[in-house]
């Protein structure tokens, strides 16, 4: 059974690309000339920092500081390219693997650490940055993005809702209902599918019969576009277009960013049980950071100094994350009774007093 066929195929011809894997501009590509050198430096820095932080999260998990962590290794271009095109008040509705998006938005990584350490569901510090809490049940957040976008449309503002889902998520009924509603209501909502070829151990070919997830858009009467998800400029370009379409009231877009999950599904997973080293090797050669760096170096935009500074920024961020995670105080046991409803019922107060007694705390 050729279960890895799709991940091993070259990225398909109809897939928008700006940079070839070696960093050269693809002939005839729609190059985003509107980006300043500073923009480019910012993007590559964000990708570099993302990778460093991602590695640190994996380390922290190995050291027993986190219960679990889903690495975004290899998906930095998709996440940074997409998110850097948004405005700070466009709302993001992430799945759980979107560290790159959070880095671009300036979310404190410790807040993500709090989630995986088991201190705060959904993470902390996200909402302030217009990011919905991290969502674990696959695809269920997609309708929220549609609702948010509908509200923005009603408000007459040009704010856009962006939801990140995976290739696996496309099989879920909630995603279908969301796509359909977004199209029917013509809301400013963008569905970003990071097609990383795997849903835990299930390859794309066992998830859907089509090889091209963007082709699903047509059945909803929605714009669909496919880009090389390891090409940050391609991601940026398609997202720029989709945002414009959304802001102009021309409706939603489904973007498929073709990329690859280079790490395990989460730190609890062992991918050697289900995929080949050869496949991984192939994608290593399509590394999104190497590609962009080659391009920017060749263009004279990225210097050794930039590299050094980005590495340093990454190191500092990683160290801060480490410290914050290690130093994080245990949450107050009684906090489990907070934020259930706007006020506590009599029964909940009784339960709270019980736990206060058990833990030697003051229930007042």
């Amino acid at each position: 059974m050729a279960i890895t066929d799709r991940a091993e195929a070259p990225v398909a011809a109809s897939t928008l690309q700006v940079l070839a894997p070696d960093g050269a501009v693809v002939p005839g590509a729609r190059y985003p000339f509107e980006l300043s050198d500073a923009d480019h430096v910012g993007m590559l820095t964000a990708m570099t920092v993302t990778r460093r932080l991602d590695g640190e999260f994996v380390n922290l998990q190995r050291q027993g500081q986190l219960a679990l962590y889903p690495s975004c290794l290899g998906q930095e271009a998709a996440q940074v390219g997409i998110t850097s095109a948004t405005r700070d008040n466009d709302w993001l509705f992430p799945q759980y693997r979107e560290l790159g998006a959070f880095v671009v938005r300036g979310v404190d990584p410790a807040g993500i650490g709090h989630m995986w350490r088991g201190m705060a569901h959904g993470g902390t510090g996200l909402i302030e940055k217009c990011c919905a809490p991290i969502t674990i049940p696959i695809g269920t957040h997609a309708p929220h993005a549609v609702g948010y976008a509908l509200g923005a449309k009603f408000d007459g503002v040009d704010t856009v809702a962006v939801t990140f889902i995976g290739d696996g998520a496309t099989s879920e009924g909630d995603v279908h209902e969301a796509l359909n509603m977004a199209a029917v209501f013509q809301v400013p909502c963008i569905f970003v599918v990071q097609n990383n070829h795997w849903a835990i151990s299930v390859p794309l070919s066992a998830q859907t019969r089509v090889t091209d997830i963007a082709s699903k858009a047509a059945g909803y009467g929605m714009a669909g576009v496919r880009c090389d998800g390891n090409d940050v400029l391609a991601c940026r370009v398609v997202m720029r277009d989709a945002l414009l379409r959304a802001r102009e009231g021309r409706g939603p877009t489904l973007i498929e960013a073709v990329t690859y999950r280079m790490g395990a599904h989460t730190t609890a997973d062992d991918p050697t049980r289900y995929r080949s080293e050869g496949e991984l090797e192939l994608w290593r050669r399509r590394d999104p950071i190497d590609r962009y760096r080659s391009h920017l170096v060749a263009a004279g935009i990225w210097t050794a100094q930039h590299e050094e500074r980005a590495t340093e920024t990454g190191e500092r961020a990683a160290k801060r994350l480490r410290d914050e995670v290690f130093d994080a105080p245990m949450p107050d046991p009684l906090s489990v009774f907070d934020h259930v409803l706007s006020r506590r019922s009599g029964e909940l107060e009784r339960q709270r007093r019980q736990l206060a007694r058990e833990t030697g705390r003051d229930a007042t």
Binding site: P137, H141, A145, V146, G147, Y148, D338, H339, S342, S345
Partner: protein, 320 residues
């Protein structure tokens, strides 16, 4: 009751621009029970609109609208069609405030025409309250009369919590002279619907009428005085009124249409025996639907708890 709910929706929409009504067939048609009749004509398609046929999507949409500051009031067309939305309710609507450390309250009122007794086919007569009431993070309420329907709906929409609003279809056509707006007791509190001294009968929704009728008969035919408590709020439960009553009567019966096992009667019996143990002269009894699927319409009359089944239980708890 339909008119009262309709007025409640209209007044809430008039008072607050952020109140939105949507669902299947609620727009031009005005809902299959005409509960939303005239709202689209009066407030426009932005404020009252039809959605595609997708219940999970409808609740998901409401969650997103709430995040954007709206107060959505989605309708799920019938009890049995609320089940496709259970995951959105359990995993998100109920947990969003918690998961966002209080930053994202869910100001969503999900209206569901509920319960049986109107001769409908399968899936149109379900009692879904347990699924919701067991779920921490949502309020579940059910009015038994038009005044409460209006008042509790207004309070639910204006409040800061997600509310599952179960409308007893069987009482939809009940009428009451009402000067609107009307404000009844807070919707998280039970109410003594008829005072009495011998047995406490706890009911909600359409079963309140059954309990009141039984009280009438018991008084007239047997000189037995039933105190009927209308629960109103099914979650979080406020059983103070029930416990007060039981401490006086020493006897308690809970009536509901839902199947017995893990119906609300279970919780009420558990709490009453725990907190009024020494007052009880007899076990708390449950008068309920059976542990079967809701039957075809020709059998709902014998299946549903009625005055006779309730009076049987009254006799039992009064046995020496």
């Amino acid at each position: 009751m339909v008119e009262a709910i309709n007025a409640g929706l209209a007044d809430a929409m008039a008072d607050d621009d952020h109140v939105l009504v949507f669902g299947e067939d609620v727009g031009r048609l005005g809902g299959v029970f005409r509960v939303t009749d005239g709202l689209q004509a009066r407030f426009g398609q932005r404020r009252c609109f039809d959605t595609p046929l997708a219940e999970a999507g409808i609740v998901g949409l409401a969650i997103g609208l709430s995040m954007r500051g709206y107060r959505p009031v989605p309708e799920l067309q019938f009890d049995g069609f609320s089940y496709p939305a259970l995951d959105q309710v359990i995993s998100h609507l109920a947990k969003y405030r918690n998961r966002s450390q209080g930053a994202m309250p869910m100001r969503v009122t999900v209206r569901i025409p509920s319960f049986g007794g109107i001769g409908s086919p399968e899936h149109h007569c379900e009692s879904p309250e347990t699924y919701f009431a067991h779920t921490a993070g949502v309020r579940v309420v059910s009015p038994s009369n038009p005044a409460d329907a209006y008042s509790m709906l207004r309070e639910s929409i204006a409040g800061d919590d997600p509310v599952i609003f179960l409308e007893p279809k069987r009482r939809y056509w009940s009428r009451q002279d009402l000067a609107l707006p009307v404000t009844t007791e807070p919707s998280d509190r039970a109410r003594v619907a008829r005072p009495g001294s011998d047995v406490t009968v706890v009911a909600y929704g359409a079963m309140v009428r059954v309990a009141l009728d039984a009280a009438e008969v018991a008084e007239r035919d047997g000189g037995v005085s039933l105190e009927v408590v209308d629960l109103r709020c099914l979650a979080p439960l406020d059983l103070d009124a029930v416990l007060d009553s039981v401490r006086r009567t020493g006897r308690c019966i809970v009536v509901h249409e839902a199947p017995r096992t893990l119906g609300l009667g279970a919780e009420i019996a558990a709490v009453v025996q725990e907190r009024a143990f020494h007052s009880l002269e007899a076990p708390v009894l449950r008068v309920t639907g059976f542990d079967t699927p809701y039957p075809p319409a020709t059998l709902e009359g014998v299946w549903l708890p009625g005055v006779d089944r309730l009076l049987d239980a009254v006799e039992q708890v009064l046995e020496p």
